[in-house]
């Protein structure tokens, strides 16, 4: 382990997770937030000031000044930004979904492999203690043989570019299938074989799907149901959403509710009840692990291939939405 300080850059604050990542970098010992690039200079300057760092109007100049970059742009901009980082031989941690199509994801993986730099996908839910302990329980056989899995990643409507197809590549199914897909793929160490999906626009005035429902089959034959809907009422729901999983095995059932560690606040000024989460800061744990991997020259803790596995499920789900039949994944 070296004592070297890792210089981190963030490319785009289009995705609000960038705020949380910037906080994490600033909290970390052994890392410094060297600069921010953003396609919107006004936004970039604002966040550079807020996080006490430098705004770069030129992406390559930022890439020349850092050891690793976090890409937190709109979905369709992941590819050009990751390719730019690979061209400069800068390891890159990319917001999920890795890409809006499997072809783009593969191109990004290949470019980083060719450049000899790590490509990571931002799946912070893996750092949940509940997810880790569930993985231990499943892999040790404590539940017997897994039979069926129920998953949810429901949320409020994020608005903005998430509702613009040319920026997002899709709606709720694109945004919220991938977290659960990733932890299931990680816990069972298995790819997806087939998926049936419905999608619709039922809640908001938006050009993308804001709700959906998936029934996927893993390569090991286990069924996963997954609700990725933006179905939590934006005005009144006490938190942004959830990540849950319930596993039925031959020897019993295990349930996780990743964001259930909350104090409940009812405040007369805000009217809506609020859940103040006191659980672990999963973004912080993810960024810490990433920075340590870069410092120590280790493989990406959560790889581009992991990101691709989730993108493949999304792509097949949208095909199923069109065909009204289950579709092969991949």
């Amino acid at each position: 382990m070296s004592e070297q300080t890792i210089r981190v850059g963030i490319a785009s604050f289009a995705h609000l997770h960038a705020m949380s990542y910037a906080h994490a970098v600033n909290q970390l010992e052994g890392a410094t937030l060297t600069g921010i690039w953003d396609e919107d200079p006004e936004r970039g300057q604002k966040y550079a000031a807020q996080f006490n760092t430098t705004f770069y109007s030129d992406l390559d100049s930022l890439l020349d000044a850092i050891d690793t970059v976090i890409v937190a742009s709109a979905n369709v901009d992941h590819k050009p930004l990751v390719l730019a980082a690979a061209a400069k031989k800068v390891p890159v941690l990319c917001e999920k979904p890795l890409a809006t199509t499997p072809a783009d994801a593969r191109e990004m993986i290949e470019a980083c492999a060719k450049a000899g730099v790590q490509l990571g996908t931002a799946f912070p839910v893996r750092y949940s203690d509940a997810v880790r302990k569930l993985r231990d329980a499943v892999q040790s056989g404590a539940l017997g043989q897994t039979l069926m899995i129920r998953g949810t990643n429901r949320g409020t409507y994020p608005g903005g570019w998430f509702g613009q197809r040319e920026k997002s590549g899709g709606g709720a199914v694109m945004d919220h299938t991938v977290h659960v897909a990733d932890i299931v793929g990680w816990i069972w160490e298995c790819d997806f074989a087939e998926v049936y999906a419905e999608a619709a626009t039922r809640f908001h005035d938006t050009e993308v799907d804001d709700c959906g429902m998936l029934l996927a089959t893993l390569a090991n034959g286990v069924t996963l149901s997954l609700d990725p809907s933006w179905s939590r009422p934006n005005q009144s729901f006490p938190t942004w959403g959830d990540v849950t999983l319930e596993v039925t095995g031959t020897d019993g059932v295990a349930s996780i509710d990743v964001f259930n560690q909350n104090n409940e606040l009812f405040n007369n000024q805000t009217v809506r009840a609020q859940w103040q989460n006191w659980g672990d800061n999963l973004d912080y744990l993810m960024i810490k692990d990433w920075v340590e991997a870069i410092r120590d020259g280790k493989p990406a803790p959560i790889s581009g291939e992991d990101g691709l596995r989730a993108v493949l499920l999304v792509e097949a789900a949208y095909r199923s939405v069109e065909s009204h039949q289950p579709e092969k994944v991949g």
Binding site: Q261, N263, N267
Partner: protein, 330 residues
């Protein structure tokens, strides 16, 4: 920093395991005249010496600090001996069995120029720490009524001392003191207390107490502690203020639950490890204490705070015994 463990019971083993994972700290010896098998096992696992008397441990010049985790009535003598031997001390809560003992401990550590930390770990439980910060931010406005409950089954152990009031002080001094420390930390000093409990009800292996507090701020408090449940462990709090309500209940904040079929032979299947947090509270507390012993900032709870909580707990016991409300001089 080299630690000696005085006591090898349940809490001593928690603290030793935690210390073993803190960089720059190690456990080098255990002293317990009645060394339990689990203590012997952990000592061997940590490569720590097994000594028969605290005197032997305190005489060792290679030990910088000690953890005192023994029955409550023994805290004072051992902390005083440790201080006179020039060791920093982490003492399990409650600070002592009587106010006189607690005051003597504070005087002796000051005279010896060593540091005394007390394990009021609830300040490190994130829901309680978050609530403290939330109240300080004004999320509930001016606090009006505060309720807090804690407890579960009686801690029956072979050779146990918890049921011996003269040694443990019963459920008030052993359990309720957690809430009392948090309440004073969050809402300030208490002016008056009235309490009722099962202390003199002649029920073996059961104790329970209910106390009404009046804070100097004018706020009203209710605290309940129990060793009268058949099983489980329950905590809750609710803070109602002029502008809002904040609440939490540990029965609603789980992130991982198991429900398992019995083994084929009908015996119950043991549940796998549960989930909680990446950094659990005992670790965060001990990290703060080690840092303080090495010259860093003071941990969240001072020995003087421990003495304040002790005074309030003993007043509650007095009120249960006399049937009178107890007022504190301002």
């Amino acid at each position: 920093m080299r630690f000696g463990m005085i006591g090898a019971g349940g809490m001593a083993r928690v603290h030793a395991s935690v210390l073993n994972n803190i960089p720059g700290a190690e456990v080098v010896a255990f002293a317990d005249p009645q060394m339990p098998p689990a203590g012997r096992e952990l000592a061997q696992q940590l490569g720590a010496d097994i000594l028969t008397s605290p005197e032997e441990l305190l005489a060792r010049s290679d030990i910088d600090a000690v953890v005192v985790a023994v029955p409550t009535d023994l805290h004072c003598d051992l902390v005083v001996q440790a201080a006179r031997a020039g060791k920093h001390v982490m003492c399990e809560k409650p600070l002592a069995r009587t106010v006189e003992q607690g005051e003597r401990m504070l005087q002796e550590v000051e005279k010896a120029g060593v540091k005394l930390a007390v394990g009021h770990v609830v300040r490190y439980f994130p829901e309680y720490a978050a609530a403290n910060a939330s109240v300080a931010r004004g999320d509930v406005g001016v606090p009006g009524v505060i309720r807090a409950t804690r407890g579960g089954a009686f801690p029956a152990r072979p050779g146990g001392w918890f049921g011996d009031f003269a040694r443990s002080g019963g459920v008030v001094l052993d359990v309720m003191i957690h809430e009392l420390d948090w309440l004073i930390w969050t809402f300030g000093a208490v002016e008056r207390v009235y309490a009722r409990g099962l202390l003199n009800a002649g029920l073996p292996n059961k104790d329970m107490a209910m106390a009404v507090l009046r804070f100097r701020s004018g706020a009203i408090g209710y605290v309940e502690a129990t060793w009268a449940r058949p099983s489980g462990f329950y905590t809750s709090f609710e803070i109602a203020g002029s502008g809002g309500l904040l609440r939490s209940n540990n029965q609603n904040t789980g992130t991982l639950q198991f429900s398992l079929f019995p083994n084929p032979d009908g015996t119950p299947r043991p549940a796998p490890r549960g989930a909680y947090l990446h950094d659990e509270p005992y670790t965060v507390q001990m990290r703060d204490i080690v840092r303080w012993f090495k010259g860093g900032p003071e941990p969240r709870t001072s020995a003087a705070d421990g003495l304040e909580a002790l005074k309030l707990a003993l007043a509650i016991i007095e009120s249960i015994g006399t049937g009178k409300a107890i007022s504190f001089a301002s």
